[in-house]
Symmetry: C2
Subunit: 332 residues, 2 copies
């Protein structure tokens, strides 16, 4: 089975079963061997469960979202909790699908009143609610304290030294000095500022021109290569942890920027409901691999230097967004 062999080595998927000891070390095998205490449970109040209308075959389409924790984007996340509690998204739709960019949803009519108290926060997107010292502590990130050999936070001037280890050239995004993870979430920093970044499946808040910052009622998720020019210009509020394929495979809109035109309004995907996990009688349980864990450190290293049977030349580096934090559903 030529294709299967080739494809197996290409995988980004995380198999649920443990790898056998004889098999080569892959990102999947590292995750499979992580110990139970290296996984962190996502609180039900940090989950959003979005039920789309069933697909053409009648299959259900459920999208599960993990809301970003403090200190990032909290004013918008609070709005989202209010909107979800008010069942505001019920009956709205996915109304924009732009190839290699974003899928966007909310109220296509732009006339649905918002619940009381939901306004665009007066805030910037590079958030330092902890003060300069707090920002510095956050900026140290998770892996720097556990992974000196990766030297992710080396200043660019000393990057050549770092490259002797894992060549983290690609950890650098835009004008950031470095990136790292904090409590399961990737961020970038230039030591003055710290900000959450856009990766595939991450969710942000659509907005009008500044000073508008958006409310969180209209949301988008990234379905192509994440664009660094979005960082610090739009609020990152969460990420899709299950069901991403229900959004990324939707037909592209033929209108400007991927909006469905009036003639193709039937392509809009109805949103049946959006609920906070804490509102559900039986919320699903998800865990993410602690980004301070030893297994996560190994996972990053293996991702940056794939050398199992399929690979001849290790990349020697990996984009921070290519290191998707492993998430798994826990059986009920």
């Amino acid at each position: 089975m030529k294709h299967i062999l080739a494809a197996t080595a290409l995988t980004l998927a995380l198999p649920a079963m443990a790898q056998e000891a004889e098999e080569p070390v892959t990102p999947s095998s590292v995750v499979a061997k992580a110990s139970a205490e290296e996984w962190t449970t996502i609180a039900a109040e940090d989950l959003l469960v979005m039920e789309l209308a069933p697909d053409a075959r009648g299959n259900p389409r459920t999208v599960v979202i993990h809301l970003i924790p403090p200190p990032f984007s909290q004013p918008w996340v609070e709005n989202i909790r209010v909107l979800a509690s008010a069942h505001w998204w019920d009956g709205t739709s996915v109304y924009r699908v732009q190839d290699s960019y974003v899928v966007q949803w909310g109220d296509a009519t732009e006339e649905k009143p918002l619940p009381e108290g939901v306004v665009s926060p007066i805030s910037t997107f590079d958030i330092d609610p902890l003060g300069p010292l707090g920002a510095l502590i956050l900026a140290l990130g998770d892996t720097t304290r556990e992974l000196p050999e990766l030297c992710l936070t080396e200043h660019p001037n000393s990057r050549t030294a770092c490259r002797d280890f894992t060549s983290p050239t690609n950890y650098l995004v835009g004008s950031a000095d470095y990136e790292d993870w904090s409590d399961g979430w990737p961020f970038a920093s230039n030591l003055d500022q710290v900000w959450p970044i856009h990766c595939y499946g991450h969710i942000g808040v659509a907005r009008d021109y500044a000073p508008d910052t958006g409310t969180g009622a209209e949301l988008y998720t990234i379905i192509g290569q994440p664009q660094r020019h979005m960082d610090r210009n739009l609020a990152v509020v969460g990420r899709v942890i299950e069901g991403m394929e229900h959004l990324s495979s939707l037909p592209r809109g033929s209108g400007e920027l991927g909006f469905y035109t009036d003639e193709e309004a039937d392509l809009r995907t109805p949103i049946i409901s959006v609920r906070l996990g804490s509102e559900l009688p039986h919320p699903p349980t998800f865990e993410y691999l602690n980004t301070r864990s030893e297994s996560f450190a190994t996972y990053v290293q293996v991702r940056a230097n794939r050398n199992d049977a399929f690979y001849t030349v290790p990349a020697g580096g990996v984009d921070v967004c290519s290191v998707q934090v492993p998430v798994r559903r826990v059986a009920e």
Copy 2:
């Protein structure tokens, strides 16, 4: 129209109409103002036109591919010309769609005989057919000779100086010292080697374990963030220049690695035909923006530092794959 406003500023699309002089400078406006002589026509023999079965609404689905020019991956490109001339792909299918990774097509049965002479080339993927001096010349790229202010090819050690201009931190991929474009195609180099890279919509050759290098009969295209670990391990042979949405929006396969399972074999998309442009009575005409042109240089700079009305904080850098080389269809 709040959403439209927000979306307009988010655009990656290239409008066909020229921008008015009063409008802010955007990547689109730069491309719209490029002069006629800055565009290069793609030869008909470098085009592949793939006709998929019509969609559920009966709309045609045509995918146009630009084959990569010398010196990159030429043994595979020659195989592809032979396969297309033999009409080998007619009646095959798109049989694998893995979310955020690849769409793959060819012969799902793995039993279709290949035309005579089509074998896996004995080659590496970091190609230097010109010898060390030629590699160095190629490695200098297009923009370095035209864009000293971008200092794309500065050695990493002097990167801080570069950052005074456009902070090209994100031009660095994996263990490459730098990236640039050569005759319209992005590549990476470490001065010893030069290699083409995987970007969104780029097409590569599926293969078995080394020393197999694939023939070009089974092809994939990138539908998510491009992964640097694919570079130098798989042959890059072209890119989709029109109709990418017909591949990226296909339903994801539920089998391992996105292969359609036997139960969902009907989800495979039939390939009606694949033809070289030179075999068509009326081939379409496409042009790309010359990567040595002044407009391309400006385009890169604006991409790296979006500062039109929507953006408050310029990124100060851009991933080489986020600088998609502009391509346009010429009216017949």
